[in-house]
Amino acid sequence: MLEIRNLHVAVEGKDILKGLSLSILPGQVHAIMGPNGSGKSTLSYVLAGRAGYDITEGSILFNGEDLAAMPPEERAAKGVFLAMQYPVEIPGVTTMTFLKTALNAQRRQRGEPDLDAVGVLKLVRAKARTLNISEEMLRRALNVGFSGGEKKRMEILQMALFEPRLAILDETDSGLDIDALRLVAEGVNALRSPQRAMLVITHYQRLLDYIVPDRIHVLARGRIVAEGGKELALELEAKGYEHIVGRAA
């Protein structure tokens, strides 16, 4: 599903990713772990197509297509979803309006007819309930005045709504207490499916207790320095990044 080969990415002329390769099959959940500044967020942004993240070498194939050639909104319509570390606030735009606009923008790009307000409302309500998102929250401006946990749940709600092929979760655990973390993880696990791939980016092993990955990659200084099964997370937790990163250097 996702095939990253020898990816080099520069931000403002500075090399951040330096030859990263990664392959994810449908149905798999991969985790990217790494210390601060290792390039984790850069990877998520370059996959989503954020401006300012320049690919200087290498390629990204998504279901056989050149992902790097697509504008970000097209990637979204084709099923790339990025749950952001810091979801932004959009004052004056109700959450419901935003969800409807986004859902229909994606459908339009795929040549599907718009859903009317009632159709969207039904869909959103059904998904919102399982994430403990209230009607009142859907009427508020998107993310404005939301707590950290509410913002992250709103990201997962969108993930459930858009049903992406590839879901990237960038530090979804940051700023969450244990109850909020469990709720978010349950939401993510409910979306695991043989057709869907996930890339979970995290600093800590904690999240991986709840979202158990098939494969873990350790990113340091722009390269993958170690790979393994879920037990690698425990090793990292016990020995620290320095141990593994140092071993690879």
Binding site: E73, F81, L82, V88, I90, V93, F98
Partner: protein
């Protein structure tokens, strides 16, 4: 449920592929006054309108006064000097004898209305809006007269009102914006071609939203519309004004005057969507819009509310104001001003608190993009007798890109120690992370800008009647298309 009229409006708005959608000119024979401005021009216009002597004298006194006045230069707008002798001051479509029904109207005119999405036929009935359509300077068709007649509401071209209701017009015309008020208002008083007159009698709630569409069509013809709305004691009226103009290279001068009078316990709600040709991306052409709009809350417990969505014009010079004369009267100003490319907008309001316990509320949303300059200029003035007066002002500016400017020039004067005046102002930019967030969720750039800006303007858009709100929201997006590189 959406009526055919709403559908048509949406469709028209949706069909806009180009930067400016109303850039077409209807080929209709025009009848013009000779170029230039002198007493003969004024007499010509008055004669064309078949006006009584008092009206001609009124115009001439304004003209003589105007000769001694100087064009104001205090606004933050720059434009080449206007040669007032190098323009036409009156243009009317030929074949102007009164039409009894739409069948008699020149089909080309109807075509123009259709292009604009102004449904003058039964679609309007479904939308429940009466339209007094002004084509250039002469009113061509008026609908819904009967229903309004039943309620006793007078809604007609002002030229007709001058002939048919001279006492009413004489009693109120020029009492809010005096003939001597300012350069542009005085010019308008001398040469106004036509406009709208509304009178709502005592205790009557006007049974429908009133709406007039203005449209400049003749090249180099200034538009000098005159509107007078009088709400008698205990009455209510909501008036919608929408403007579009065809594409032209020459700069076109527009100097309208709008006067509102609200007597005891009366309320007037005046909404505008202004979309005159703003000039091209290089700043060529475009309408110069110098407008004087003022409402007089003459009676106790009266209320006047201005809502404006200003997206067009090369230059906007406009300060819809309220004189809060009656005790407990209320003035409101809700404004969205969008300036893109080389547009210059200097707009705001004046709230003059004369009566006791008067209240005013100002919500201004300025959006600047491209190389545009957007200025909010406002005055809140509390006079000595206005004990307990209250004002709340909120001025928010949104910048798109790094080459535009937003300026806020609030004047606050209080001569009464019991007055309470609050002023809040913010300036923000559309953040790159907001845009990226929308893009990542599949929303294309222009739609994302439109969504974010509409959110920013929400408090004002909510004030618009439904018929306008849909169109206004789309216009907000359209006028900013391509503004993010």
């Amino acid at each position: 449920m959406s009526s055919p009229a709403q559908k048509e409006t949406r469709q028209t708005v949706a069909e806009i592929g180009e930067k400016y959608k109303y850039g077409f000119v209807t080929d209709i024979e025009m009848e013009r006054a000779p170029k230039g401005l002198n007493e003969d021009t004024v007499r010509y216009i008055s004669a064309k309108k078949g006006e009584p002597d008092w009206m001609l004298e009124w115009r001439l006194s304004a003209f003589r006064r105007w000769l001694s006045m100087k064009e104001p230069k205090w606004a933050r707008v720059h434009y080449p000097a206007i040669d007032y002798q190098d323009a036409y001051y009156y243009a009317a479509p030929k074949n102007t004898p009164k039409k009894q029904s739409l069948d008699e109207v020149d089909p080309k005119l109807l075509e123009t209305y259709n292009k604009l999405g102004i449904p003058l036929n039964e679609q309007m009935a479904l939308a429940g809006v009466a339209v007094d359509a002004v084509f250039d300077s002469v009113s061509v068709a008026t609908t819904f007269k009967e229903k309004l007649n039943e309620a006793g509401v007078i809604f007609c071209p002002i030229s007709e009102a001058i002939r048919d209701y001279p006492d009413l017009v004489r009693k109120y015309l020029g009492t809010v914006v005096p003939v001597t008020d300012n350069f542009f208002a005085t010019l308008n008083s001398a040469v106004f071609s036509d406009g709208t007159f509304v009178y709502v009698p005592k205790g009557v709630r006007c049974p429908m939203e009133l709406s007039t569409y203005f449209r400049i069509n003749a090249s180099e013809t200034g538009q000098f519309e005159r509107t007078l709305i009088v709400a008698d004691e205990g009455s209510y009226v909501s008036y919608l004004e929408g403007c579009t103009a065809p594409k032209r290279d020459e700069n076109q001068l527009h100097a309208a005057v709008v006067e509102l009078v609200a007597l005891d316990h009366a309320e007037i709600k005046y909404s505008t969507v202004q979309n005159w040709y703003p000039g091209d991306e290089e700043g060529r052409g475009g309408i110069y819009n110098f407008v004087t709009k003022r409402g007089d809350c003459r009676g106790d417990h009266s209320k006047i509310s201005w809502t404006q969505v200003e997206t067009g014009s090369a230059i906007t010079w406009k300060y819809p104001s309220c004189i809060l004369r009656g005790d407990h009267s209320v003035g409101e100003f809700y404004s969205i001003a969008i300036a893109n490319n080389y547009q210059q907008a200097d707009t705001g309001t004046k709230m003059i608190h004369l009566g006791a316990n008067t209240r005013s509320r100002i919500i201004s949303k300025g959006i600047s993009a491209g190389k545009a300059q957007n200025t909010y200029r406002g005055l809140v003035s509390v006079y000595g007798k206005a004990k307990g007066a209250r004002n709340y002002t909120q001025c928010d500016s949104l910048l798109i890109g790094g080459q535009c400017g937003a300026h806020t020039v609030p004047y606050i004067e209080s001569r009464n120690p019991t007055a309470r005046i609050e002023h809040e102002a913010t300036t923000s930019k559309i953040a790159e992370d907001q845009l990226f967030y929308c893009l990542q969720r599949g929303i294309p750039q222009d739609e994302a800008v439109s969504l974010i800006v509409n959110g920013f303007c929400k408090e004002v858009l909510q004030q618009l009647p439904m018929e306008f709100a849909v169109e206004a929201q789309k216009l907000v997006g359209i006028s900013l298309e391509g503004s993010v590189g």
